[in-house]
């Protein structure tokens, strides 16, 4: 639970959601992204990444999440993204560019964000105020 003042100076309470643009993520290295995610999630925020992480970055995120888990403290993350898509453009293939296209991703603390249902194009989740 986070308490902040809104633009009119009124105090509001709730769970903070940060929507991070593709452009902001594109400027960051893999480690910077992972550090940002873990820091934000550990301070009880929910992150929505416009364009998610690469499969290798997601694997690294799991690895570093495990390092930070403590009994009675941080129990991990809930992360949900749609399966990656392959870019089939001939231009990309010729120039050896990454042909995997990552998609929208939601990440939050495991004790607050719960996925209810997920399929190829729809993620249903609830946020609890624990």
């Amino acid at each position: 639970m986070i308490q902040k003042e809104n633009q009119t100076g009124t105090s509001v309470q709730g769970i903070q959601l940060d929507f991070i643009s593709e452009d902001r993520l594109a400027e960051m290295t893999a480690m910077e992204k992972i550090r940002l995610i873990l820091d934000e999630v550990r301070s009880s925020k929910i992150l929505v990444l416009e364009r998610g992480l690469t499969p290798a970055e997601e694997a690294k995120l799991i690895e570093l999440t495990m390092v930070e888990i403590t009994p009675n403290g941080f129990s991990g993350i809930e992360i949900e993204s749609y399966p990656t898509k392959n870019n089939t453009s001939i231009f990309r293939k010729i120039f050896g560019k990454n042909t995997t296209r990552t998609r929208l991703t939601v990440i939050g603390p495991a004790d607050k964000l719960k996925t209810i249902k997920k399929d190829r194009d729809m993620i249903t989740a609830i946020v609890t105020e624990q």
Binding site: A56, I62, T65, V67, S75, T100, A110
Partner: protein, 206 residues
Amino acid sequence: MPIKLVSWIKKLFKKKRMARIGIYGPPNAGKTTLANRIVRDWTGDAVGPVSHIPHETRRARRREGITIEANGTTVSLDIVDTPGLATKIDFHDFMAFGLEEEEAKRRAKEATEGVIEAVKWLEDLDGVILVMDATEDPFTQVNVIVIGNMEARHLPLLIAANKIDLPEASPTRIRSAFPQHTLVPLSALEGQNIETLYEEITNRFG
């Protein structure tokens, strides 16, 4: 000429590394049951114990030189049974299975180390058998991450839709979720359709 001879002798004695195939999946999907089934069928031995409590396998176990024969094709592989991949581990979940607090905390700590080990192994493999519980929703993040990593590295992947001996199993749901990959519906516990898995192993990893 002498250089060619040296090169030929080196090739003759150089031990070719066998393909390493990792068995991956979420906790309790039946990875170790499947690894035991494969290794037992071809060597008579076993890989490790299984349990209904998640994260029973907390260390990766490699069995070298498993020779599988199907449809007249023979393939020799190293099989790596990996700990279940997860994004969260809470010791309270183990207490729900009757474990004492201290034991649950120890298991949770070892489970986190096991997940790290499983992630590290991804970099050292030549292919993956991804075990999914056919009674569960296939779109878990663990499945998405393993498939994404294999696709990004252009490595072969085989999906084992496990637990088809259970009435609620739906391998079709998995097939429609990941239609781009070869899928074998099977029961690692009962051995149902295991011959098809061996055929696909020789096709995909040979």
